[in-house]
């Protein structure tokens, strides 16, 4: 009888531990966002504030909600994972009280998609490769776009893209 008790206690322990699931919540992976910082067009190492900065996504003439900016010199934007091109309306307004004076520029980012399987809980996340940015050339306040890191694989605080104005 002792042996039966022993075997059953071992079985109970096995079943008990098999119920533990540590991989139900995704915490260790994410689809990264791109960090854009605004620099002075005359001094490429100087951050320059954008007066009443306002960034919105745009897709097929549909304008998306305002993306909350980190500061007036930095913004983190999400790239589309269901297409290889993402456009943003980046607005500055030198006289914030008057909405008619807003300068709106459209910036387009093209890239390649690279799906990555991370874990049971997270599944697949998207990484972006060969990112290229193009800005407007007519009537523009954004003078130049420089992509510093063409591949975006994890959420980071380093600058991915510099925008000069």
């Amino acid at each position: 009888m002792k042996k039966i008790a022993l075997v059953f206690s071992i079985l109970t322990v096995i079943i008990f531990f098999s119920g533990c699931e540590k991989d139900d919540i995704c915490i260790d992976a994410a689809t990264p966002q791109m960090v854009i910082r605004f620099y002075d067009q005359f001094d490429s190492s100087m951050l320059k504030e954008v007066t009443s900065l306002n960034v919105q996504g745009i897709l097929d003439d549909v304008v998306f909600p305002v993306i909350e900016n980190v500061s007036t010199t930095e913004i983190q934007v999400p790239l589309r994972v269901d297409g290889t091109s993402t456009s943003f309306l980046i607005t500055r307004n030198l006289t914030p009280t008057d909405s008619t004076t807003a300068d709106i520029d459209t910036v387009v980012f093209n890239y390649d998609l690279n799906e990555q399987f991370k874990s049971r809980a997270c599944g697949f996340v998207m990484n972006f490769e060969n990112i290229e940015g193009t800005g407007p050339t007519i009537n523009n306040w954004i003078k130049m776009i420089e992509v510093l890191t063409p591949s975006l694989t994890q959420n980071d605080t380093i600058t991915n893209v510099k925008i000069f104005h």
Binding site: I14, F64, E115
Partner: protein, 261 residues
């Protein structure tokens, strides 16, 4: 003086013990060696796992079968093995995958149960080396994106093409505990639980990890352990009988009635 008193006590205990064993051997020896013989059946036992086909009937997303067999080597030791095939489709939160493949396990079972005369039951512990060959198919998936700015509440779909990972293999070691009881003559019902320890890395360096391995069961992130079980129905085919070698008389033998003296 007290010291010596205790010593005297010990001396008496010793004498008592010596007297006891002497009388035991006198009585026990003739019975053990000549009258009682344990003729035990030896042979091969084979059958199927009941849990896998039943799970297959209940759940659409699973089908599987497992054949089991063991061959008796001596009084306690058996060579044991399993062979099976499993196909399982699993819907996770954002993706759906199918694992399909075959596996084999080979090892030993050690019976720890001392059967009464005529009994053939067992409570056993065992060990296996197991090997599986399988394919993983990602049927559909969505991209995990904590922000979902572009999609509102939905996660956007991944690419349409089905991702298939063929020709994968895994091997693991398995510890087994279980019981087998004789239901009718030569028909056994058994249950066993298993802990597997993966020897390979579950393809964690590829773009789709092994989340399920046939025979091994669920693979947990960051762990090499897995658990499984089976309910077996087996038939014992007796091949020959062998007398159990008489055990050396141990001092543990039951004390005999005093009337003999």
């Amino acid at each position: 003086m007290l010291k010596y008193f205790i010593s005297f006590c010990f001396a008496f205990v010793f004498a008592l013990g010596a007297a006891q064993t002497e009388s035991d051997t006198l009585v026990a020896t003739p019975i053990d060696s000549s009258i009682v013989t344990h003729k035990q059946k030896y042979g091969i036992r084979f059958g199927v796992d009941l849990s896998r086909p039943i799970t297959g009937l209940i759940a659409d997303e699973y089908s599987g079968i497992e054949f089991v067999a063991d061959y008796r080597l001596n009084y306690k030791l058996y060579i044991a093995g399993e062979f099976g095939n499993e196909k399982k489709t699993k819907q996770e939160t954002l993706y759906n995958f199918t694992t399909s493949g075959s596996y084999g396990k080979l090892g030993i079972d050690y019976n720890t149960y001392a059967n009464w005369y005529g009994e053939q039951n067992s409570i056993f512990v065992g060990a296996r080396y197991a090997f599986s060959s399988y394919s993983q198919t990602v049927n559909n998936y969505r991209i995990y994106d904590a922000d979902r700015y572009w999609n509102g509440t939905e996660f956007s779909l991944g690419s349409e093409e089905i991702k298939e990972f063929d020709g994968r293999t895994a091997s693991w070691l398995e510890g087994v505990v279980g019981i087998k009881g004789e239901l009718f003559a030569n028909i056994y019902l058994g249950f066993s639980a298993r802990i597997g320890f993966l020897l390979s890395n579950a393809n964690r360096d590829t773009n789709f990890h092994d989340l399920f391995i046939p025979g091994f069961n669920k693979v947990t992130d960051g762990s090499k352990f897995g658990v499984g079980y089976n309910y077996t129905l087996t038939y014992f085919l007796p091949l020959y009988k062998k007398t159990k070698k008489p055990k050396k008389v141990k001092e543990k033998e039951k004390p005999k009635p005093k009337s003999e003296e």
